[in-house]
């Protein structure tokens, strides 16, 4: 996408916030050509606003929203799955952290940055500006705790895709070299396993906004296995699958639309109400590795919108790739429908030795495609023979967590740096639970970060926090600047440790009164922790003016 042109779309009711976006760009960043479009419209049908305006950056204000439909998630996934729109940044705005948590299904559909509305709107503008437009823009200077050098583990946002009697499919941003995926799923209480043997790993993500797909074996308890949570009783799983059938739906049949045309997005949206799941691939074709997704999605129709080269030859390469892959399988035999095709169905069938081809010389046509899909599924209604069960996009049980080991190097109230071994793509979102729960979006670093034998050195912007959270983080950073930690701990533990250290000092120097400054430090920390539970937000304009 063209980053010199700046079009920002704000969807929501907050005029103050949307006006401030404009002020930020026009005055602070001195970019009067930036267009900020403000819409106070229902968010359920976002694709038309999107196609009408083609924004680089979209703020969606959920603060007055109570629920988000499955439909909205599907629209997001269509947009983010479209190669030309994938770089568009979606920022979520929330009234509270609790609301953000209840809408966290949006994260794997493309929302990689979250702002809990408060007094620090500018942070959301600056961070989104950095991510979206200019990665040379310096951040404000925050107190930085350096050389933290502590091991920690965090949770990488991932998505449950489907489950059957023996396997589960997860999509994630994290690639591991060994044969296990380590993480957790929130399906049911007994499903506590944290380590799953990998049956197969795919270099694609066909359902959500991730990078990798893992097919995993459910670790059933064998006769010699212990009673630990690492194993699941098979009969418990089968009973649960049976009892909870209504929460799930069977894997839908698939139809692929492989088309470089932007209009493919509009057509895919209209086709969404059809029986099959529509997968939109906005590029000329799929390579062999990408075709492996068909093992899971099992498409029944694949529709191509082809192009001609400068010699007016039709490029059948994408068709050839797909047919080559299909030949390696025994169960796949989708119908291939080819638009903008110069040869007839008969000729193509014989050339590629594949007799299920429909060739259409005209460009892609939505109505014809809809008719073909409807006709197909009228003749062949899905028999629910797939044993795979899936959840709605907006079901929170769908959120899975990949365990990621990191080595924290530095922290401010705004960003965190760490080493990690798995190769983590930029703009992945991870969750920390210490010292508070917060999200961190991995970004290209502002300045060079030294690599290390421990792995790549990453920087992540902290987000999804309230004003109170920022105060706690600030206190925490200030504390560890002065008192290095031996482990990355939470505020209660920090306070307890501070008290213990104080008691030990008192015991060691039993005639000596604790220093006033130490006492004040403890009281200050205690006071600040109590503020966390306060519902009163204090506006501290003077302290925030540097932002």
């Amino acid at each position: 996408m063209d980053r010199t042109r700046k079009i920002i779309l704000y969807i929501g009711p907050d005029e103050n916030y949307s006006n401030n976006i404009e002020i930020f760009y026009h005055e602070r960043m001195r970019q009067p050509q930036t267009r900020v479009i403000k819409l106070n419209e229902p968010i359920d049908d976002i694709i038309p606003y999107f196609l009408d305006n083609l924004p680089n950056l979209v703020f969606i204000d959920f603060s007055l929203t109570e629920t988000i439909s499955n439909h909205f998630h599907e629209d997001l996934l269509l947009i983010k799955g479209h190669e030309i729109f994938r770089p568009v940044l979606f920022v979520g705005l929330y009234r509270s952290k609790e609301q953000l948590k209840s809408f966290s299904s949006l994260i794997s559909c493309g929302f990689i940055y979250h702002y809990v509305k408060g007094t620090e709107d500018v942070i959301s503008f600056l961070d989104s500006y950095y991510i979206c437009f200019d990665q040379t823009t310096p951040f404000p200077k925050y107190a930085r705790a350096r050389d933290i050098n502590l091991n920690h583990h965090v949770s990488g946002f991932s998505s449950f895709v489907g489950i059957n009697e023996n396997e589960v499919i997860v999509e994630t941003d994290y690639e591991f070299e060994d044969d296990f995926w380590r993480g957790s799923l929130d399906l049911y209480q007994e499903f506590q396993s944290k380590s799953f043997e990998v049956i197969k790993k795919y270099d694609y993500s066909g359902h959500y906004n991730h990078v990798w797909t893992y097919r995993l074996k459910i670790p059933f308890r064998g006769p010699w296995d212990d009673e630990s949570d690492e194993f699941i009783n098979k009969d418990t799983h089968e009973t649960w699958m049976d009892f909870n059938k209504n929460d799930f739906f069977p894997q839908r049949p698939s139809v692929y639309l492989i088309d470089q045309n932007v209009l493919g997005l509009e057509s895919a949206k209209k086709l969404k109400n059809s029986i099959p799941e529509i997968h939109l691939i906005y590029k000329s074709g799929l390579d062999t590795e990408e075709c492996e997704q068909f093992e899971v999605t099992k498409p029944q129709i694949i529709i191509f919108g082809l192009t001609k080269d400068e010699d007016e030859k039709t490029d059948y390469g994408p068709v050839s790739q797909v047919i080559s892959y299909i030949r390696t399988t025994s169960s796949l035999r989708p119908i291939l429908v080819i638009f903008s095709s110069s040869s007839t169905s008969e000729a193509l069938g014989k050339a590629y030795n594949y007799n299920a081809i429909i060739s259409i010389p005209a460009p892609y046509d939505h109505n014809l495609t809809q008719n073909m899909i409807d006709t197909f599924f009228k003749k062949r209604p899905p028999k629910n023979e797939s044993s795979w069960m899936a959840l709605s996009h907006n079901d929170l049980k769908r959120i899975a967590w990949t365990k990621v080991e990191i080595f924290i190097t530095a922290l401010t109230e705004h960003e965190i740096t760490f080493f990690a071994d798995p190769n983590i793509p930029y703009y992945s979102l991870i969750r920390f639970n210490v010292p508070i729960t917060f999200y961190a979006t991995i970004i290209p670093p502002l300045s060079y970060l030294e690599p290390h034998r421990r792995g790549e050195h990453y920087m992540a912007i902290i987000n999804g926090v309230s004003d109170e959270d920022r105060r706690i983080l600030r206190t925490f950073v200030n504390y560890i600047i002065k008192t290095p930690l031996i482990e990355f701990i939470g505020p209660k533990d920090l306070l307890e440790r501070a008290r213990m250290e104080q008691r030990q000092k008192v015991l060691h120097n039993h005639n000596e009164e604790p220093s006033v400054t130490e006492e004040e430090k403890i009281e200050d920390l205690n006071h600040k922790l109590q503020e966390r539970h306060s519902v009163v937000r204090k506006v501290k304009k003077n302290k925030r003016s540097k932002l």
Binding site: K313, D315, R333, A347, N353, I358, M372, T375
Partner: protein
């Protein structure tokens, strides 16, 4: 009722094939022209109205691929039916990029009349059904055939 059958051009370097096929198809087309290679075929196209071309792929001087390339450069969409021998898959995949109508296997030439008749109809523009419905009916037949 359209009684025009259309004119056919047969291009093959094997004279025996040329004469045999001409005889087999004499009732299918209004006029049949023959050429021994692509170059000769192009010359005929300059001077005669042709509605369908039945063409070998491997020929000296100018082969079938080069011939279809040259014809398409003139923006002509005239249907091309190619003879292929066994194992010519890569040549077929090259040819389809330029818009092939069908392929017939040498030497059996199964369905020769049926395919050429369809090619001539397409070349004349004799579509008794409108564009979209052609595909819909073709699609329904395909669904029936693979069930």
């Amino acid at each position: 009722m359209n009684t025009k059958k259309g004119n056919l051009l047969i291009v093959d370097d094997e004279t025996v094939i040329l004469s045999r096929v001409s005889i087999l198809l004499e009732d299918i087309a209004d006029e049949i022209f023959t050429a021994n290679n692509g170059q000769e075929g192009l010359e005929i196209l300059k001077n005669k109205e042709v509605h369908c071309i039945l063409c070998d792929i491997n020929m000296p001087i100018m082969n079938g691929i080069e011939m279809i390339k040259e014809v398409r450069k003139t923006n002509s969409e005239i249907p091309f039916i190619f003879y292929t021998g066994h194992g010519n898959q890569s040549l077929m995949m090259e040819v389809v990029k330029y818009g092939a109508f069908d392929f017939l296997n040498k030497p059996a030439l199964d369905n020769l009349e049926e395919v050429v008749q369809k090619g001539l109809k397409a070349g004349i523009g004799d579509n008794t059904l409108n564009g979209d419905s052609d595909f819909e009916s073709e699609y329904k037949k395909l669904l029936d055939s693979i069930e």
